[in-house]
Symmetry: C2
Subunit: 308 residues, 2 copies
């Protein structure tokens, strides 16, 4: 699967992911009103409004980018109707030829991790049939439980030609509380140990010169990116934290390999809520999707110039 | 919320949680056949079979125990129809007076963690209304992202009178890969640092002499339980790993405070798949729920004798 992502990045010349993390606050009033009028102020109306909003943004940006990253929490917050919108968003993105990275940060052990892997990137057996639950192409995974939690995902990467991104160093201010702790005799930060494991796990699912096991490293910690990059030369790095979380293109060079490959940068709010940003204030709320397209183009230009 | 759980433990004299982690392999053929005949070998049939199985087990054991712990991964594996069964299971348990601990191990940052907190223990705003997504009483949470990931859950614990259990030391064989790493100058294991944080976070949501912020510590590591117990005297410890994962009642004393409170022990497969266990082989598959009831009684007796 990782080669498919790399091909799509090469085709679009855009190592960029659009984060489909809708909150109702990002959705223009005219869309919300339409579904609230029809279905009341319900979870069902919220799910429909989210799907309508996503569809317009996907239509406006799909030809510019290789992949999207829906954040499942934003859908789970509306319960079953929200998760129906999550499923529909994945299907719609696939219809448009986009690769879908499910940002679920799941992590458990043994048969439970296998259930999550099946839910998101694999298949679940029902009698003699095999059903697909959500069907993302990649899913993000939390490493705190160790190899027992990751191995079931790698098995599914191999059986279903899919991929995962393991949290190594997250973009948030308090990520250092545990991730930066100096461990062992040498006092290396914990995230480096996790990166070492990502390299080991990655060897179990190689696809060309890259592995189906990638890593998440926040754009907000560029000073750590170079060291992590060296520890996991075969891992694609998914980089959150660009834009709304404060990082810009110039922070990103260290995340890429010398051939300009090896990282893909996410922006969520900066793209999907662009119409609320002063920079794109010439767009009316009704034109929110065109604002998103311009924001994607600006982001791609910023990142291309940074990685040269 | 934690006082409600403690009261229910006192009433039942059973510091025991039944893990509702159904796989189709645990469900007797006659139930599966009923729904497969009606709906085909589909996710919808699986969801209905799971709900039917859960209902029978809940009916058979609800008066013996304070709480249940559905593992959401087992439902998520069937996609939306599975999550409908998850929601129905929660509602059915509430109707029977049981406290529900959603074993979701969610963890993200900022507004995303808030979305997960709202999804599971809080409410989500839709227009001028407030909707409940899944409505568990407690949810398990992964600490790898630090305080940014936990604080939004604590806010919801306080606003909605709910609780969380933070993963400290998990029950699986490889949990030590990261959790046991010696950190800092003193070389304390990482899980102790996480326990320290649980104590700090716990102070933000006290409810009587216990906190709404509890901890997960695996029964399979009894030698670590005493040290962890001292670091978090006000935290309820949720203890997985009893039974199928190898721990028995005699391993459990260190998890409890000297007053016999402060821990609650989970068994999943050992209860819900008791009918497949040689020990309960006198029960026919049709009597699976009665086998579960006997297994719960045996577990309660084992734990009572251990904690004296």
């Amino acid at each position: 699967m990782i080669q498919k992502l790399i091909s799509r990045i090469d085709e679009t010349k855009a190592p960029v992911v659009v984060g489909l993390d809708p909150t109702l606050a990002f959705i223009p009033e005219h869309i919300k009103r339409k579904y609230f009028d029809r279905l009341g102020e319900t979870a069902e109306a919220a799910g429909e409004a989210i799907m309508s909003f996503n569809r317009a943004i996907i239509d406006a940006v799909y030809d510019l980018i290789p992949a999207v990253k829906p954040q499942i929490a934003m859908y789970e917050a509306f319960g079953v109707p929200g998760l129906i919108a999550y499923e529909q968003t994945i299907d719609y993105c696939h219809d448009k030829g986009l690769i879908v990275i499910g940002d679920a940060k799941r992590g458990d052990i043994g048969s439970t991790s296998a259930a999550y892997a099946n839910a998101h990137i694999g298949h679940t057996t029902v009698g003699n049939k095999s059903i697909r639950a959500f069907g993302e192409d990649f899913v993000t995974v939390n490493p705190y439980l160790g190899t027992d939690g990751i191995k079931p995902f790698i098995d599914v990467c191999n059986s279903d030609d899919k991929g995962i991104f393991v949290l190594v160093k997250t973009s948030n201010p308090s990520s250092g509380e545990f991730q930066d702790q100096p461990v062992g005799k040498e006092g290396r930060p914990l995230y480096e140990l996790v990166a070492d494991k990502v390299a080991q796990w990655g060897a179990l699912s190689m696809d060309g010169d890259y592995s189906n096991v990638g890593a998440v490293v926040g754009a907000t910690y560029p000073e750590m990116a170079g060291d992590i990059r060296k520890l996991i030369p075969n891992a694609m790095i998914l980089v959150p934290g660009y834009g709304a979380q404060g990082a810009s293109g110039s922070d990103l060079k260290g995340f890429f390999n010398s051939d300009g490959r090896g990282a893909i940068v996410n922006s969520s709010r900066g793209i999907i809520a662009a119409w609320q940003n002063e920079r794109y204030s010439s767009y009316e709320p009704e034109d929110f999707a065109r604002a998103s397209r311009e924001a994607v183009s600006d982001m791609i230009a910023d990142i291309r110039s940074a990685i040269g």
